[in-house]
């Protein structure tokens, strides 16, 4: 079955579920994706009426993590009559993970959410395609067979699907929203039973074997283009602080400039804040206007919490994430000790 056919089937099923939810008044609003305003993009959409259901689409350009629209929990975002809005949300695996983790962090109440599970087959790596096409204008992007087809005024190019999806999608193990007994009420559509996620993190073992100087050079080159636009922060469902640490004034811990030291610190601390919380959706890399791919940092974060605390974020809404717990037996091999 080619990518196009898969997507079509997923889209149809998703629309049926959405239609049911609205007609049975199980939800007040459905958050999903729709066609983007320019090629190689998609847009989020919120629909309340059955007749708008056909605006919901599913394709490999749905890179936004829709869970972002549910945070932070602000009192004003309630139904004017006082109750809480019931929300249906189109969820690929990482969106489902994000919703579950946000429930653990008490930002959303899963009782009011219907997770419309869909089996994601990967998100196209926009910047990689753009780089290949270069200066030429892209007019249409579609999937055919096992390829991504990019059409312009005078050209048509094909890219193998498996090579041109996001790095994170290549190693993804949770393609549809995870469900456990506790979550079965919230999940409809395609969801998968996940008890634990095994991973050998082979994709970053290459980077990990570099020397400190090599790592520093690599990271420097990776992050140097950053313009501190914070698109990554805005796209990330886990970045919902009302006052981000870089915007803080009393005191100003870290600079907002594009000096390399400031850039590195921003990404280092943002990574620190995402430990045990990041769901590897790749939205941050997808939205970056400078094309910075943060996948190795994301993978490293997953690796740290998996190896040290046997934790994967967003799988289970009853396990506390590592930064909210502690154990006498935690590893401390990094501590300074007498000889």
């Amino acid at each position: 079955m080619g990518i196009e056919t898969e997507n079509q089937e997923t889209e149809n099923n998703m629309r049926d579920l959405a239609r049911n939810l609205l007609s049975e008044k199980q939800v007040d609003v459905i958050i999903g994706y729709t066609t983007g305003t320019v090629p190689l993009s998609s847009s989020p959409i919120m629909i309340t009426k059955e007749e708008d259901v056909d605006k919901l689409t599913w394709n490999n350009l749905c890179y936004v993590n829709l869970a972002k629209y549910l945070v932070p929990k602000i009192p004003q975002l309630v139904d004017p009559e006082g109750g809480n809005l019931k929300i249906g949300i189109v969820s690929k695996g990482c969106v489902g993970r994000a919703l579950i983790h946000l429930a653990v962090e008490k930002q959303i109440n899963l009782d009011n959410i219907k997770i419309i599970g869909i089996p994601c087959n990967g998100i196209i790596n926009r910047k990689k395609i753009e780089k290949e096409i270069g200066e030429r204008e892209i007019l249409e992007v579609s999937a055919s067979g096992n390829d991504i087809v990019v059409k312009g005024k005078d050209f048509e190019e094909k890219f193998p699907f498996d090579d041109y999806i996001n790095e994170l999608c290549k190693v993804c193990k949770v393609k549809s929203p995870p469900t456990k007994a506790a979550l079965s009420e919230a999940c409809i559509g395609e969801c998968q039973e996940v008890t634990s996620v095994e991973d050998d993190f082979a994709d970053i073992s290459d980077f990990e074997s570099k020397t400190a100087e090599e790592k520093w050079d690599y990271i420097k080159n990776l992050l140097e283009p950053c313009t501190r636009c914070y698109a990554c922060r805005e796209a990330c469902p886990m970045c919902y602080c009302s006052l981000c640490f870089v915007d803080q004034n009393k005191p100003i811990w870290f600079g907002k400039t594009t000096d390399l030291s400031d850039i590195i610190i921003f990404h280092l601390i943002r990574a620190m804040h995402l430990a045990g919380r990041c769901v590897a959706c790749g939205a941050c890399s997808s939205v970056c206007p400078m094309g910075i791919d943060l996948n190795i940092i994301t993978r490293k974060l997953e690796k740290i919490v998996k190896e040290r605390y046997d934790f994967t974020s967003g799988i289970d809404n009853e396990t506390l994430p590592p930064m909210m717990a502690f154990n006498m037996e935690d590893s401390e091999e990094f501590m300074l000790e007498e000889d």
């Binding site: 990990e208 790592k215 000096d259 030291s261 490293k300 740290i304 006498m328 300074l336």
Partner: protein, 150 residues
């Protein structure tokens, strides 16, 4: 603004690292006091900041110290199980584990940031570990990674 340590401007002596040490009030600070009372000598490279518990130490303090020109950071608390506030050091330990791994991942010399446990009765151990941390930082040379260009 180029961040320079005092020793670098003008003086041509051998460079000595400046290390900021966050010591928990109940164990490590008391341990450092005991080292003083017992007149145990160690190299004069650390500057001590008193905090109530190692759990108080936010990664911001550690990173800010590195970006602000300190050559090294030491964080010391009570041994696990002996924390005056029961579990503050256990909370901190996880934080430090993750920070340490990220520093290493980013290629920022992890030997600059050292975590240790030293109790109020361990004046000798405190001095030994400080000596060790100082040697590690000295081997890395002055902290130049975060010098601002403008």
């Amino acid at each position: 603004m180029t961040v320079q340590t005092e020793q670098e401007t003008g003086k041509n002596e051998e460079w000595e690292p400046k290390i900021i040490a966050f010591l928990c009030n109940w164990c490590s600070y008391a341990g450092a006091d005991l080292a003083g009372v017992s007149r145990i000598q160690y190299p004069p490279n650390i500057r001590i900041v008193r905090v109530p518990c190692s759990g108080r130490v936010n990664p911001y303090f550690i990173i800010k110290s590195l970006t602000d020109g300190w050559d090294g950071v030491v964080i010391s608390g009570c041994h696990p199980g002996d924390c005056h506030y029961i579990s503050g050091n256990l909370v901190a330990r996880r934080r430090f584990a993750i920070l340490n791994e990220l520093l290493e991942f980013f290629g920022i010399e992890p030997d600059r940031v050292n975590f240790m446990w030293a109790s109020a009765a361990e004046g000798e151990r405190f001095a030994v570990l400080i000596r060790k941390a100082t040697e590690k930082v000295k081997a890395l040379g002055p902290n130049k990674k975060f010098e601002k260009k403008w």
